[in-house]
Amino acid sequence: MARLWRYVMRYRLRYLGGVACLLGATSLQMAVPWLLKQCIDAVARDAAPRALLGYLGLIVVIALAQGVVRTFSRFIIFNAGRDIEYDLRNDLFRHLETLPLAFYQQRHTGDLMSRLVNDVTAVRMLLGPGLLNFINTPVAYLYGLAIMLSFDVRLTLAALAVYPVAFLVVKRTSRLLMERALRVQEGLGELSSRVQENLSGIHVVKSYAGEEHEIQTFARLNQRFQELNLRLARVRGFVFPVMGIVSSTGSLVVLVYGGQEVMAGRLSVGDLAMFIAYLYQLAWPTMALGWMLSILQRGRAAMQRLNELLAVEPAIASPPGATAPERVAGEVALRGVSFRYPGGGDGAPVLDDVDLNVPAGRTIAIVGRTGSGKSSLVQLLPRLFDVGAGAVLLDGRDIRTLPLDWLRRQVGLVPQDPFLFSRTIRENVALALDGDGDGRVEWAVGMAALARDLEGFPRGLDTVVGERGVTLSGGQKQRVALARALAAAPRVLVLDDALASVDAETERTILDQLRGFFRERTTILVAHRLTTVKEADLICVLDEGRIVELGDHESLLARGGVYADLFRQQALEVELEAI
């Protein structure tokens, strides 16, 4: 809760202003029943219109003044709640940006989403409506009780007797309400995952003619969900009718017991009207307080979940005081690098004592079977993960001593499975650029051989990519990702099998166009097509996390090892393709 308090303190002046308005509004509001009493008493004794007019004028003035002050009190406090919601969400987002890939691999997107959406909302409810009612209720009671007690202690106590009960009932039901609402939410989640699973496996369902059974299973879950909903409805339908009972029971007491007092001459009809009005005005604050207690509970739990998220340390970050070198040549080296995926258990390491030197300006290809550790190796370069042992060096400096954002500007990695945002292609390509990059986008798109594809798109570069890039083919997505890296013109370009879905001919075109670009910088290619690999200055063959062969194409072929095997197979493939 300490963190929450810091947020509140940030807006303390506004809260103070809001609370001041609230006190003013409630004070004015609580004066109205007393004025009503004066009026009715005046009406009862058929007083001169002028006597009545004074009170009525006062009521109108108070009503208008109250309207203004109440408006301010509500929106100032509610808006402060919204401001904190905004701050909190921003802080969470900024924090998420510092967390490494490993964090996202271990967390469900849905869970993170629910924290940034639902939990933040719960906190906002606490700091907006919650706070308002926590202050309003005692103040309203203070006035109401003081005035009513000054008229008739016994009547006040009798009429209010039902209020504590109502408070307890609301407190209890609102807890039940939240519990059951949570169950319903879970039920909905269960239903969603069921549908999700069914749709993902629809080919199996259809293949085994299992539609009927799936429908029945869904209907059963749906039935359960419906029952959960009805359980919720049983409580939900309770709250408002209870509210009706509360104030009207108060009126009943006033009417019957207070009526006797009027007959005895101890009270006037105006007093009765005043009591009824006060009871009416206290009904909502009473219920609201019960309601707010569960909002408090909920808000606290939500804040805890948020704190837990905010407490996750960014495992990969710039070291304090790191300075960027003025010039970068682009020499990349791995020294005794071992690596395991975080949370990957303690089986054999993915990379095992790897030593590799890539001189600046050279092109190196990394080949090997699936699972040999190629992707893992290149993911270490921009520090998507950190090495377990050993070090990765850029120009002889351990990359962990360099500023992270600087490092990532130098090392451009095009991942195997690129992620495109549902924006325009231009924006996707310009992801690493400030603004639209002044022609760099067009250049990069050309280099990635996308120009012809773009002609076919309705709005060229400004075509919006569908959800997760669904409207693009796999090869097109990869080329957009390539263009993205090229546009940023990094010193070290790393292609992690980045053209696997691009057809051989287009790949050839791209590589030919990039030859000059490659010469100016260090290039690391993970590739399957050995025709691509052939031209590299150095070829590194990985197997089971170790470098098993290293050399140029000719020497590796001559050696007759893993590389030669791979090459023979691919030659056949090419031959087949030609048939």
Partner: protein, 614 residues
């Protein structure tokens, strides 16, 4: 054929008779409860509105005349009104929810059942998430329509009429004075409604954008990190976030103003009424109790008016949701033959007759950027013809993209051919009852799909006519029994997508599934992923048993499979280029010979550990 559902829809009308009529078909089965709930509303309103009247009677008839016992009798009536109010209010709310829940549950099942019968093309085109949200979120929005009382807008009008009636019957002059500010109130609320409608829509859109942005940013955080875009992404998020905040600030101001406005107007109305009351009382035209009762009537009068805007917004989003759900319900389902044939016995004879197939529908709009237009769809299969006799074991080989998987999908009629035809036991698959056909053809795909739930359910897939004994026998037969027992038996849970099973175990489980269904035809796409030698042996052994006595069509990745096959079909670039036995084809030295050298001859122990790559 309409097979696409659309994402965003505009916020439209708050009332659409066509949609309401259609929704009514789901409410109709529960119409008795519905009418009862509706009937309870005026009852509830009566109990609600009679209480100020009782106060008036109490003051004027009993208190004014010192009639204590009369006052107590009236108190009893008042208790009755409270109890009646509570019961009718609770009953009305609860019954409404009963109707809502039951009818929406029916709607949900209807939509789900409909989706089950959509053709595969639908699932290829529409992201799973979007379909899920139709069945869950959108239906939930409809529920809000019932729950938030948006359906009671009309009843609110009735209530207002009731209050006016009570006031008029008590004293028409006082009533008119009380309502003097009503035009002002209506103008004010109408102004608010128009403002609020815009802000509500703005808020909905903006929170939607925040959610969308978050969803993408969280899934694509590494892309953001690699591009060093954190700072700019934050700026973007900040803009969305502040836009949302600003819209809410505006809406808070509007709501606070409305809240206070209604309160102020009702207080001022009370003052007006008191002024007139004072005048009338002096000339004995009104009793004191009536004045007191009017205070309460005025207070009650403005509440439903205040809530109108919120209800209106709920109605609007409900109509949008209803439109989307019905849009889904209106899509075409898989074509089924008018007179489906359900042969009693299936021998398992298969014939492809000049089959052509393309995943792009002929004449359909080509996908954005597709090089080929509608005129020449990219054929995945071209003029493929072959026959498989009942009981024959045939292997299909070919390079990636040769069309092997498509052959399987067409045979199971997950897609329909564009040209030519496919016959099973001499009957065109399009004339078969799809369920009957699929029940006789068991398909085991490379990537075995398992459902979360017990092992047994994953084997039977809901067929209740497969007894436990048969399930176990099938599992024992295909060497799956061992690991199932280690897992904890047939009731042991399989986690989502079988994540608690190894690749080999998933294969064996899929074999057990196929065997338990005792198909006439077995179609298998062998897994390429490597398993440890022991499991490999179990799988090979199981495979032999599984194929026994059935027609089998296997996309072969194992050397043993092609060597054991009666015949091998060689697909190349969508065409059937060679067929024969392993030996014949090798001797021929064509495509098969090369494929063999490429994929099978080099068969060697795979890397011992699976990739732990993300």
């Amino acid at each position: 054929m309409a097979t696409d559902i659309h994402g965003e829809a505009e916020v439209g009308k708050a009332y659409d008779a066509r949609l309401i009529r259609r929704l009514w078909t789901y409410v109709r089965p529960y119409q008795r409860v519905f009418w009862l709930a509706l009937l309870l509303s005026p009852v509830n309103q009566f109990f609600d509105l009679v209480r100020p009247y009782l106060v008036k009677i109490g003051i004027d008839r009993y208190i004014a005349h010192g009639d204590r016992s009369g006052l107590v009798r009236l108190g009893c009536l008042y208790v009755g009104a409270i109890v009646g109010d509570f019961l009718s209010a609770y009953g009305q709310q609860y019954l409404t929810m009963v109707v809502a829940q039951r009818s929406l549950a029916d709607l949900r099942v209807a939509a789900f059942a409909r989706v089950q019968r959509f053709p595969m093309r639908f699932f290829d085109r529409n992201p799973v998430g979007r379909v899920v949200s139709r069945l869950t979120t959108d239906v939930d929005v409809l529920q809000e329509m019932f729950a938030a009382g948006a359906m009671t807008i009309l009843l609110d009008v009735l209530k207002l009429a009731g209050i006016v009636a009570f006031m008029l019957s008590l004293n028409w002059r006082l009533a008119l004075t009380s309502l003097a500010l009503l035009p002002l109130m209506i103008l004010g609320i109408d102004y608010f409604r128009r403002m609020a409608r815009k802000t509500y829509r703005m808020i909905r859109e903006r929170i939607g954008r925040i959610n969308g942005y978050l969803q993408e940013a969280i899934s694509g955080m590494s892309a953001i990190a690699l591009a060093g875009r954190e700072a700019r992404a934050f700026v973007e998020f900040d803009r969305l976030n502040s836009d949302h905040r600003d819209a809410n600030h505006l809406s808070n101001k509007l709501e606070a103003a409305l809240f206070s406005f209604v309160e102020a107007v009702s207080t001022v109305s009370i003052a007006f009424m008191l002024w007139e009351g004072g005048r009338l009382h002096r000339t004995d035209l009104v009793e004191l109790g009536t004045v007191v009762a009017f205070i309460q009537y005025i207070q009650q009068f403005f509440v439903p008016i205040r809530d109108f805007s919120a209800k209106y917004a709920v109605m609007q989003s409900s109509m949008t949701a209803a439109e989307r759900i019905f849009g889904l319900l209106d899509l075409e389902t898989e074509p089924t033959p008018a007179r489906a044939r359900v042969p009693a016995r299936v021998r398992g004879e298969i014939e492809f007759e000049h089959v052509w197939y393309s995943y792009k529908e002929a004449g359909a709009r080509p996908a954005a950027g597709a090089a080929l237009g509608a005129a020449a769809p990219p054929w995945v299969l071209r003029d493929v013809s072959f026959r498989i006799a009942a009981g024959e074991h045939v292997a299909i080989v070919g390079a990636t993209g040769a069309g092997k998987t498509t052959v399987i999908k067409l045979l199971d009629r997950l897609y329909d051919v564009q040209r030519g035809r496919i016959l099973v036991d001499g009957i065109d698959v399009r004339e078969w009852d799809p369920a009957a056909l699929r029940r006789r053809i068991a398909v085991v795909l490379q990537d075995v799909f398992l459902f979360s739930g017990p092992v047994e359910a994953n084997i039977t897939l809901g067929r209740t006519d497969i007894p436990r004994a048969a399930v176990e026998a099938a599992a024992v037969h295909v060497n799956a029994d061992g690991f199932i027992r280690r897992l904890g038996g047939y009731e042991a849970p399989v986690r989502e997508r079988g994540s608690n099973l190894s690749g080999g175990q998933r294969q064996l489980l899929a074999f057990a599934r196929a065997l338990a269904h005792d198909p006439a035809v077995l179609v298998l796409d062998e897994a390429t992923s490597s398993v440890d030698p022991e499991t490999e042996w179990l799988i090979q052994d199981a495979l032999v048993k599984l194929l026994e006595g059935r027609t089998a069509l296997v996309i072969a990745h194992r050397l043993s499979t092609i060597e054991n096959a009666d015949r091998i079909l060689v697909l190349h670039k969508g065409e059937l280029r060679e067929q024969g036995t392993h030996r014949e084809l090798l001797e021929r030295g064509g495509i098969y010979a090369r494929l063999y050298r490429m994929q099978y001859a080099a068969e060697r122990p795979a890397p011992a550990r699976a990739a732990a790559q993300p």
